[in-house]
Amino acid sequence: MRNVAVIGAGVSPFGRLDALLYQEIGRPAVNDAIENARIDRKLIQSCYYGTCGGVGVGHEIMNETGLIGIPITRVVNACSSGSNAFRLAYMDIASGMSDCAIAMGIEKMKNASMMVVGGGTRFQIEAKAYSHGSPFPLGAGGGMPAGFALMGRAHMKMFGTKKEDFANIVVKSRKNASKNPKAEFQTQMTIDEVLNDVMINDPLTRSQCCPRTDGAAAVILMSEDYVKEHHIDTPIWIKGSAMGSHMGAGDPKYPPGISTDADTAKKVFNMAGVEPKDFYERGFGECHDCFSVSELVHYEDFGFCKKGEGGNMINDGVVEIDGDLPINPSGGLLSVGHPLGATGTRQIAEVFWQMRKDKEVAKRQVPDEHLDIAFTHTLGQPGLGFTNVMHVFSRDL
């Protein structure tokens, strides 16, 4: 496999963009990514884009940005669509098929659906059947928030985790997003405001659930040969890419969490030659905080702390921007928003800008000593299955 780098990124403002066309949301992200990479757009040889609802919008956006004619592939994998598109672009270049590719994610949530199995009735029946055997029926019987609420409740019972621990994740998220002008929510919240917000599924209040957001994000990838040939300044290298899948969200014998996230983390860290402790010393990351509970269990599933100690990570300030292991410096899905197809590439844009100390993240810059390595992670539920996608990046080749 050839070495591949990220060389540019662009993100549209996230928010409720119902009145805009897909190409109006996607074009600025693509053009910003090309400008950020400082390359001639004619170098781009292929496009992979993630979206759940935008049929054919990749062609429209490539047409509006002068890129039509290159291979364009749509990826539909729920919340992991964007990171899957990025993984395919990476594989395309690593295999030698292309030297420069664009990975884009875009969503207008009004049009998006994760229920791709053909009709509500059938989905309900099958979902109920498949959820049997799993203690955490994400997406079945109570919707996504209920699935994570059930997980949170079990975590509270098993480990003594408190509602305040989950709420503190939102406080941290809002604080970081207040420095992110592209986030949907840029106002800070106190822990009391989070806890006293509208109850969705106990213990999850409204602000502990990510919003339905529209937006787009694009990143440019390039082979090592092209990086040298075109004198690219500060490329960020992709050191690991891994993916896992499962049905239902948990193994009944597994403590509250997402067992395949743990497996995927091991795979990607192994490929990159790093261990969880390395991120404490010199790294940071963006994880899939679709709900407050999910971020807390991700700390544990990735091996950053023992099972049951996720609450300490947030309460002790470990995951703050100036903490020992900054997580979601962008504000994450909880505050930036979660346009299904765009989230994966938005996360990659964030770690790329952070590692390159780009002006885009100047107000929320992760400290120098943590910029050597970074990870990104998405957890998607396409229909009745789940898909986890993780990447590890490094400033050094």
Partner: protein, 124 residues
């Protein structure tokens, strides 16, 4: 070539027990019953009745759109066979509107009706 019809036309419940099948080869429990095991692809099964008693694994409240809406408590339970050797996890609604009545580990009894899976809370 295998038949495309894999759903077994058997009652979902016998009384208030779940009518499942257990793979003779690997022991995996399948519900609703199918003609093949999705773990080992085996096709030989034995019938197994699970429930009606079990314990609460986890629970949450359902979202109330309007204040007057009924507050349902939704969750997952682990149901056991009579001999206690096998178990199966099932989602459903508890027969209470008060979340404080529900506790992880509390015993329940499956009381299904035509539309819903209802779990009756039992005294410890």
């Amino acid at each position: 070539m295998e038949s495309l019809i894999t759903r077994q036309k058997v009652p979902m419940l016998i009384g208030n027990k779940i009518n499942a099948v257990k793979c003779d080869k690997c022991g995996h429990i399948r519900f609703p019953p199918r003609t093949y095991c999705n773990k080992c692809q085996g096709t030989d099964f034995s019938s197994i009745l699970i429930g009606p008693t079990g314990v609460i694994l986890t629970y949450t409240t359902t979202y109330k759109k309007k204040p007057k809406d009924k507050q349902r408590i939704f969750g997952f339970v682990q149901l056991f066979t009579e001999d206690g050797k096998d178990s199966f996890n099932l989602s459903g609604t508890f027969d209470t509107e008060n979340i404080n009545d529900v506790k992880i580990g509390k015993k329940i009894e499956l009381l299904p009706n035509e539309k819903y899976t209802i779990f009756k809370l039992l005294e410890d």
